[in-house]
C-alpha cells in the first residue's frame, strides 16, 4: 500500500459491502458432511477463555474419526460447497463462508493488515509473549516494543511442551496483537502485526480517517 492511500476508494468499498467474509477450508482429508445451509445464523467461540465452541457446521470423517467443523465467528452462512457433500476431499479446500457485519475497529484492522507485517501461528497451540518481550510491553507499552528478525518473541505451549518462536520479517514495532494469552490459536491465524517505523505516520492517518468518517 503506497503512501498516497485512496481513503475514499477503501471506505466506499466498506460502505457498499460492510461485511467481513470468513472462508473456512478443510483442515483434514476425509468425507465431508454439512449441517448448515446458506442463510443460517451461526455463533462463534464464546466464554471468557473462548473455550465454548461455535456452531457445529459439519463434520469431516477420516478413518472413522469424526472431526467437527465449528464456526470461528458469529454471522450468517453465505456459502456452502454443497457439491462436496458426502465426498472425499483433500485438506485445504474451501468449504464454507461466513459473513458478519463489520465494526469500526474491525475495518481499521482490516485496512491495517495491508500495511503491517503479519506474523501467524505455526501450530494450533496457546501462545505467550517471551518473557523479555512481555516485560518490555509492561514497562513501555505494546506499541513501543520493537522486534527484529531472530528475536525470541513467543513461547508456544502445546501438550505441556514449551517451544520458543522466533520472529521472522522486517524489523518494526508491535502494533496489533491478535491473540489472548491462554486462548488456543488455530494454525495460520494471526498473532501480531508489526509496523515498520516508516509506516507509522501512514497507520496513524488511516486510524484517524476511519474513526472520523465511519459511523459508530
Amino acid at each position: 500500500m503506497s503512501e498516497s492511500i485512496d481513503y475514499e476508494k477503501i471506505l466506499s468499498r466498506y460502505r457498499d459491502d460492510p461485511y467481513g467474509y470468513i472462508d473456512l477450508y478443510s483442515q483434514h482429508t476425509g468425507e465431508i458432511y454439512f449441517h448448515v445451509s446458506p442463510g443460517n445464523e451461526v455463533k462463534g467461540l464464546s466464554g471468557k477463555w473462548h473455550h465454548i465452541p461455535g456452531t457445529h457446521l459439519g463434520d469431516i470423517v477420516r478413518e472413522r474419526n469424526v472431526k467437527p467443523i465449528l464456526s470461528p465467528s458469529s454471522g450468517v452462512v453465505s456459502f456452502v460447497a454443497r457439491e462436496l457433500e458426502g465426498r472425499f476431499i483433500e485438506a485445504g479446500e474451501k468449504i464454507i463462508t461466513i459473513r458478519h457485519p463489520l465494526k469500526k475497529m474491525e475495518i481499521i484492522e482490516l485496512i491495517l493488515r495491508n500495511v503491517l507485517i503479519l506474523f501467524r501461528a505455526p501450530e494450533r497451540a496457546k501462545y505467550f509473549f517471551a518473557l523479555d518481550i512481555q516485560s518490555r510491553i509492561e514497562k513501555f507499552g505494546q506499541r513501543s516494543v520493537s522486534v527484529k528478525e531472530g528475536d525470541e518473541i513467543f513461547t508456544m505451549s502445546l501438550m505441556k511442551r514449551d517451544t520458543p518462536i522466533y520472529y521472522t520479517g522486517a524489523p518494526g514495532l508491535i502494533h496489533s496483537v491478535y491473540f489472548k494469552p491462554g486462548v488456543t490459536v488455530e494454525r495460520g491465524d494471526l498473532l501480531i502485526g508489526v509496523c515498520p517505523p516508516d509506516k507509522l505516520p501512514l497507520i496513524e492517518k488511516i486510524i484517524t480517517r476511519v474513526k472520523a468518517e465511519w459511523p459508530s
Binding site: G47, K48, W49, H51, I52, P53, E63, N65, P68, P122, E123, R124, A125, K126, S157, L158, M159, K160, R161, D162, T163, P164, Y166, G182, T184
Partner: protein
Amino acid sequence: MALVTSPTLICTPADLVTYIENEEKERRYPGFTTSSIDKIFRYGGHIGSEILFFPFLERGMDEARRLIREYGAENRSFSSGLVIAAESLGSGKGRFRRRWHASAGGIWLTVVIVNTLLPQASRLLPLAAGAACCETALFFGLPASMKWVNDVQVNDRKTAGILTETMIYAGEEYVLLGIGMNVNNTDFPVEISDSALSFRSFLGRECDLGKVLVDLLAKLAWNVGLIYFFEARQLAEEASVHPLIKRCNELCDSVGRQVLFGFNVEEEPQYEALVLGIDEEGGLRMRLSEDNRLVTEYSGEISYLS
C-alpha cells in the same frame, strides 16, 4: 563439570541394550509382531545412546543446553537420545516455575532428542515420556495411572512428573524431556507431603535405582519408538489407530472424571468438564459442565474434582 560415576544410579548404554533384548522385548508381545517390536525398538534405539551421570546439578535442563552449545561450538554432532542423570538437583522446577523437590534417592533425568519428527508426531513426545514413567511404576508394583498430559499418580498423589522444553540452536530443534520420578526419596517438603508419593513410601521398601532407571529408559525407547513407527506407517498410508494414544488411553485414569481445566489450573482455573478421552492427536476430549458441549484441549492441565 567433572562426571562422577554414581554407585547407585548407574546404567550404561550397553546395559540398556541388553535389558531391552533380554527382558523388555518379551513384554511387548501382546498386540505386536516380532518384526514390529524389533522395528519399534530400533526407532527408539537412540534413547540412552549416551548416558551422563552427575552427583549434583542445579538443573538438568541447563546442563543439556550448555552441552548443546558446547557441541555446536566445537562442531561436533550431538547424540540424539543423550541422557543426563543427576543424583539430586538444586533448583529443579516444574511448569510455571513450580519448584520440583529433587533430593537424592529419586531419578532426575533430562533426555535430549534431536527432533526429526513431523510436527504432528513430535507433539506426542510428552505423552511418550508420561507413558514410560507410568509403565515403570506399574512394573515395580505401584497401581499407577497417567493424568493428562503426563503426570503419573498413585492414588491421586504424584509419583512422576515431566517438563518438556524446546531449544533451537544453529537451525536444529532439540526436545528436552525433563523427567522426575520419586523412587527412594521420602523427604518431601511439608507443602507437598500430601500430594507427592515415592515408590518407597508406597511399597515400604527401597528399590534398586539402577534397575528402575534401565527399565524407565527401555520403556521410553519403546514409547518414543512408537511415535516414529506410526509416523512411518502414516507416511506409507498404512496407519490406523495410533498405538501410543491407545496405550495412553489405557494408562490414563482421567476418563469419566469431573475435572477443572486451566492453562495454569492452580492459579487460574477456567472451567469444569467431564473427561471423555484422549484424541488421536493427544488432545483431551471433554464435555463442558456448563452446557454439555464437546471441547478438545491441546494445552493446559487438569485437576480432579471427582
